[in-house]
């Protein structure tokens, strides 16, 4: 069975990988084909090693004792696995507060972004009205404008509104991005117009069409947007850095960063345990929703 499957894949890959002329004898084909495959696998292993070694090193270091992290020559595996780092980090830092803040901000931002983004995208994709195209151009145009260029006036405006040094500021900052509108609009445009037409004839209002037809049909796109937004907010460093002065409000990224700069004799093993903890939720979310991540990013690139 597996052999059969292999030959099947073999033949398909054959055409793609080194595309030999069909007239060639089968022995010639398989030799060239095997060489190509071998090169492919070697390249894959090299790339994978380059991509994953830093993670491997991080996790291994989180299980070392404090001195072992910097030992020369480098020790890739800890002598004894110091699991207590993962216990100590909870008591020796405010990591619980940081996680709570990060979780709160990420969840609220994701909800707001998905709701307002898909709502606005319906207007852009399925409605015709004056000013629509100009407005959309404004949205698209800001994708080329880096946040770093307007972070100062934005900070001043939010400070004037009394929101600096608050989690609300971080939520507002992230929740209304043009990207979400763009992503959802791309998806809605693939949904046949006849569906909403038929619903209109049946007497559904535009709002009901959005809620009863578009939302259920766009679950994959909503999932993409939700996952990308959540991860981005979870990992955001600059926003919290500028707005959050009060340590009680720190997010995970700020907290871990302060861990590096504040302690003179930083216990790096402990720090690595904290970093690993900060990555685990994102890794799990990513593994579960990988398909949606990839689709979301691919869609955003389709219409340069």
């Amino acid at each position: 069975m597996s052999e059969l499957l292999d030959r099947n894949i073999t033949q398909r890959t054959l055409r793609k990988l080194d595309d030999p002329k069909p007239r060639r004898t089968s022995r010639e084909r398989s030799a060239r084909y095997r060489a190509g495959r071998a090169i492919g696998y070697i390249a894959m292993i090299v790339f994978a090693a380059a991509l994953l070694t830093p993670f491997f090193w991080m996790i291994m270091s989180s299980l070392k004792s404090a001195n072992e992290v910097f030992s020369v020559p480098v020790q890739w595996l800890p002598e004894t696995f110091v699991w207590s780092n993962y216990v100590e980090i909870w008591s020796r830092s405010d990591i619980i507060t940081w996680i709570r803040n990060t979780l709160l901000v990420s969840t609220v931002v994701t909800l707001l972004q998905v709701l307002t983004g898909s709502f606005a995208a319906y207007g852009f994709a399925k409605m015709r009205f004056r000013g629509r195209d100009v407005l959309f151009l404004l949205y698209i145009g800001t994708i080329a404008v880096p946040w770093q260029s307007y972070m100062i006036p934005q900070f001043i405006l939010l400070t004037e509104a009394g929101l600096s040094n608050s989690l609300v500021a971080i939520m507002l900052l992230q929740a209304f991005g043009a990207f979400g509108v763009f992503l959802m609009k791309q998806y809605y445009e693939t949904i046949p117009e006849e569906l909403s037409e038929a619903a209109r004839i049946d007497g559904l209002s535009e709002y009901s069409i959005w809620r009863k037809i578009m939302l259920p049909l766009s679950v994959p796109a909503l999932a993409s947007l939700a996952l990308l937004t959540f991860v981005n907010t979870w990992n955001d460093y600059l926003g919290p850095l500028i707005y959050l002065r009060n340590p009680d409000l720190w997010t995970l990224q700020l907290g871990l960063r302060s861990f590096v700069s504040n302690l003179y004799d930083t216990n790096y093993a402990l720090l690595f345990a904290g970093l690993t903890i900060s990555i685990v939720p994102i890794a799990i979310i990513f593994m579960l929703g990988q398909r949606y991540f990839v689709e979301g990013i691919a869609t955003s690139g389709l219409k340069g």
Partner: protein, 312 residues
């Protein structure tokens, strides 16, 4: 973008009669349409559009921490032109951009071509390639800082093992700090652009490859003459995004080097941050921000026009 939206307009809307009753329907449509966009637009307008407009005003004032702002005309811009550390930041940004763009394109396109084959383990590999992109910048910076450590870091240890007796000082040396940051930047970004290239590769018609093969084109010839031309829209989008993302590079540098050693990795965004948030020279910082704004817009427009010219 606007033209494509217009051509995609629903056919039903065109059936709307052109006389009086239509105008009432149109007004109704406008109101409903705006009501859809409004919730998002409130946030978007107040937190993105208004700040951009205010930015231009601020750059012509001497706005400082006390909120007093006098109109100073082009004084900030004149100062910017003669400011030594802005010049350094500007050149460093270009340096990063020029290194980062080709490196990332080659790496991510290579990854995409590799993954486009049906090799075993491709699914796992794609996950691995994407992983750095979803990892927080703080974790990336801390881990790579130690990996790059000149005396006790694994990277230099490997280099010494393969016979390089005096490996670079990486983040501690002014010459090697920027290349080190570029390496980490490429490592982080290549999974993201790989996904874009993979999507682009799906649009390359099989028949073209078959035809080229019939004509006796080798693997490399087919890549240059078939794959690359078909990838042009993707390549365009990737280049634009990469350019903007490189020009605004900030968080990676802030956590990895803080702009140092000396000013060897200081970039425009960091210049804005320093003058604005650390020294409270909001007016002066805004003029640098306007420069960054126009740099990104100009590069995007140029690339857009170039792409148009070539596709005609």
């Amino acid at each position: 973008m606007a033209t494509s939206a217009r051509t995609a307009a629903p056919p039903a809307a065109r059936k709307v009669p052109q006389h009086r009753p239509g105008s009432k329907l149109r007004r109704h449509n406008t109101i409903v349409g705006w009501s859809f966009i409004l919730p998002n637009f409130l946030g978007f307008g107040l937190l993105t559009l208004v700040p951009i407009v205010v930015l231009f005003y601020m750059s012509f004032t001497n706005w400082n921490a006390f909120g007093t702002a006098d109109w100073v005309g082009f004084a900030n811009y004149e100062r910017l032109l003669t400011d030594g550390s802005f010049r350094i930041s500007f050149l460093n940004t270009l340096y990063y951009t020029v290194l980062h763009i080709p490196l990332t394109i080659v790496a991510s396109l290579g990854l995409a071509l590799l993954l486009n084959n049906k090799l075993r383990g491709v699914a796992f590999f794609r996950t691995a390639a994407f992983f750095p992109y979803i990892t927080s910048i703080v974790a990336i910076a801390v881990v790579w800082n130690l990996l790059f450590s000149p005396d006790s870091g694994p990277i230099n240890e490997v280099l010494r093992a393969i016979g390089i007796t005096e490996p670079p000082g990486w983040l501690t040396s002014p010459e090697w700090a920027m290349p080190a940051v570029v390496i980490v930047g490429t490592w982080r970004d290549m999974g993201y652009y790989m996904v874009l290239f993979l999507a682009g590769l799906q649009t390359v018609p099989r028949e073209l490859h078959e035809a080229a093969r019939m004509d006796g084109a080798g693997v490399w010839q087919r890549f240059v003459n078939v794959t690359l031309p078909c990838l042009r829209p993707t390549m365009f989008f990737v280049t634009v995004m990469l350019t903007i993302n490189s020009l605004k590079i900030f968080d990676l540098i802030l956590v990895m080097t803080g702009g140092g050693p000396g000013q060897s990795t200081s970039v425009i965004s960091q210049f804005i941050y320093r003058r604005g948030f650390e020294e409270n020279q909001f007016g002066f910082a805004s003029s640098a921000a306007v420069a960054l704004f126009f740099l990104c817009i100009a590069v995007t427009v140029v690339q857009f026009l170039w792409n148009k010219k070539r596709s005609v």
